[in-house]
Symmetry: none
Subunit: 132 residues, 4 copies
DNA sequence: GTGGTCTAGACCACA
DNA sequence: GTGGTCTAGACCACA
């Protein structure tokens, strides 16, 4: 699988963890779904089993999966995870807006510019723009 | 000085570089102002001169300071640096908003929540927005 | 290996970096090929590991190699690097021709003289130009 | 005078030497003309007298000026200097063209591109192009 | 094993 | 005095 990007400066275990965080938050993996074994994942991802184990440790520590010894790793229910991540995002954006203001940029302008860069994904809206 | 935080996972040279980037972008240091010498900084920051040197290398490479051998390090003009940083902030916020949308959060709500967390500094403006 | 020349006024780390830039641009090292480890290179080049590390930092920063911690340093794809270097060469020659003109030399003569000094490698082509 | 550029990475003594080399090769200073004293130059250039002396040392060593002890520094006759510089330029261009060829660029294309970047300075030619 | 960081201390060019 | 380079050697994160 093309999960690991060697040109990415982040460590491999973190890339793997990020990949699964994303799948879980997006709902691509359901709550209580079992993940493949460490060995299987290592083969699928072409990574060292130690590295995969470290990624799973991170996912467990951050509440994305839970482990049942002897049975495997399972996906945690994501509702609270989503809320937590949303709060992280809110906090991070607030920090960035503060910094922007500190260096003399108007937060509203920054927000407007950021919105322009949002990937299009609301077809109705786009259509209506065309209709005008 | 309390610039270095050993609990911070970032390397010391990067913490020092970040600290000065911030001072420079905020305008706390003026263009062409001379920084303290490497040796002086090392003492002030309780770091090794080599580590300070590495931090200054980073700052030089990224256009925050320029060096005159035998004279010292000087602060670069920050106009273009500020614009570049603003663009970084815009891009980062756009990424975060995209991620929020992916996990099912409304970008507008996220923005509204982030604004609430902005350090208060322009109360009248906020009030007038409500009044409109 | 005879990479380091102590009579050369350039620092050792830069000589090492230049050496590898050349190998990479010439295609002597292929994309994604692994370089020897820092420690191995240090022994081969008779330099200190820190110095080798600094050379690799330069190569990484300038886009010639990428690093996977715990795995090693790898050669970057060189297409864009070659184009960038070609543009550098064009710019440098333009500067030199301007200077030649300023001191009263004819740029065309200078170019013709420079061509005569090109290492011979396509004799037929030169002959045919004369024949035209 | 605006000879020294602190943002230039070259040492100050070299910037001063370059400045005078240029003036001499351009003919702006005539053969056997006397240069101002070290002290005077130091003031005019806002530089340290030691630094000015070092620049003059370089100019003397490379044959651009000669010193009469107790009388001052004088400009050398520039004919041979110009020829030497022209040969340096020819050699450097040849090196660059060789390098271009090594990385797969066509020397003729490189030359053509470099010519396009030459600063315009031959009005008649330009006019004729318009006339065509 | 592999790269990255840091300290300590020496030595050099430059102003 | 000021910055830049280099060696020696230790220690850490990562795979």
């Amino acid at each position: 699988m093309n999960v690991i990007d060697y040109k990415d400066s982040r460590p491999i275990y973190e890339q793997i963890a990020s990949y699964y965080k994303r799948l879980i938050l997006l709902g691509a993996l359901e709550a209580d779904e079992k993940l493949p074994s460490v060995r299987t994942l290592a083969i699928e991802l072409s990574a060292n089993p130690n590295t995969v184990q470290k990624a799973l440790d991170v996912l467990g520590r951050e509440g994305f999966i839970y482990t049942v010894i002897g049975r495997g790793n399972f996906v945690m229910n994501t509702d609270s995870l989503k809320k937590a991540r949303e709060q992280e995002i809110v906090g991070r954006i607030a920090e960035l807006l503060n910094e922007a203001r500190e260096i003399g940029s108007d937060p509203e302008t920054v927000i407007a510019d950021a919105k322009k860069r949002l990937e299009v994904s609301e077809p109705e809206l786009t259509v209506r723009e065309d209709a005008v």
